[in-house]
């Protein structure tokens, strides 16, 4: 069953259109994709490393994280997933998953059978290019995260990831100007940034004290966008958005 979204608000269409211009028939083909919609609680694995899936999933609402773990159980979050993302799209070509994906908030996800995606790609070669572009952009984000975690100080790391989340959410219509919902705990930020929760707490305090952000519960409000971009050494080029809004 197709996802219950008006065509303009379908997360998959929005996401692909943010990085690739779609024709009407391609947009319709995406809307017609058979999809099994599941509602998941927070902190649940959607797929696990080692799985051999016969389907991919699209995030329809909510946030996920893609993570890997060391042999002794230390977790590194390697990406955050937002509505429209397909965190395990790689499984279409790579049979065994080398990542796990878990929900960070209650999520609605749409599972698409691989055979339906193959069929779609055969019928619409430009959509194959769109999915290819999506995986290339995903790779660009991983490279930026590697730089971020490997070489930026915690304060700048945090500023960078906040900038990225705001721009990505804005690209799929889930941020107003400089505010968005961000249901990510300090512990989850710690796992993503490779620092401790104590450190995350401190750098968030510092970003607040410097007048760059306001964080109330899950609500992020960026008070000084230019300042936050500067603190995060953030240049959105690596997100390869078709049309980046002037505000960013």
């Amino acid at each position: 069953m197709p996802a219950p979204f008006p065509p303009d608000h379908n997360p998959l269409v929005r996401k692909l259109e943010s990085i690739f211009p779609l024709h009407d028939d391609e947009r319709q083909a995406l809307l017609d994709l058979p999809m099994q919609v599941n509602v998941l609680k927070d902190d649940q694995d959607v797929v696990r490393e080692g799985d051999r899936p016969s389907r991919c999933f699209v995030i329809l609402s909510g946030f996920t994280c893609t993570y890997k773990a060391t042999g002794d159980g230390k977790t590194q979050i390697v990406a955050f997933g937002v509505p429209g993302d397909m965190p395990d799209l790689q499984s279409l070509h790579l049979k065994v998953l080398d990542i796990s994906v878990a929900t960070l908030s209650p999520c609605s996800v749409g599972f698409i059978q691989h055979e339906d995606l193959w069929d779609l790609c055969m019928r619409y070669p430009r959509l194959t290019a769109a999915f290819w572009r999506e995986t290339l952009v995903e790779g660009a984000v991983f490279r930026e995260w590697l730089l971020n975690v490997g070489r930026r100080e915690a304060y700048h790391r945090m500023a960078h990831v906040l900038c990225e989340m705001l721009v990505r959410l804005r690209a799929v219509g889930l941020a107003e100007d400089h505010a968005c919902n961000l249901p990510i705990t300090q512990g989850e930020f710690a796992d993503a940034l490779g620092v401790t929760t104590v450190h995350v707490n401190r750098v968030l305090q510092e970003l607040r004290a410097n007048g760059l952000i306001e964080l109330k519960g899950e609500r992020l409000n960026v008070l000084d966008w230019e300042g936050l971009k500067q603190a995060g050494d953030f240049d959105p080029t690596y997100l390869h958005l078709v049309q980046e809004r002037p505000a960013a």
Partner: protein
């Protein structure tokens, strides 16, 4: 191993009360910071601000009290 604690102020920007931890040869092993009010569940705990040698870790732990911190330090030094 006998550990010696020496109070110190730490310039972390928020938490200032800390302890230097020395071994019996008066070599500095670690700096512990007492976490202030802004940490929810961790307020009042002690954080391994810095550890040297065998106490160096990317995953600095927090401890409910100094006794727990000393126990962890001793265990870590005895290992390997």
């Amino acid at each position: 191993m006998t550990l010696t604690l020496q109070p110190v102020r730490v310039a972390t920007g928020s938490d200032e009360e800390g302890m230097l931890v020395f071994d019996e040869k008066q070599r500095l092993l670690a700096v512990l910071t007492h976490l202030g009010d802004q940490y929810d569940g961790l307020t009042g705990h002690w954080y391994l601000e810095a550890g040297f040698g065998r106490l160096e870790t990317h995953d600095q732990p927090t401890f409910a009290d100094l006794e727990a911190a000393e126990k962890w330090i001793s265990q870590r030094l005895a290992k390997r």
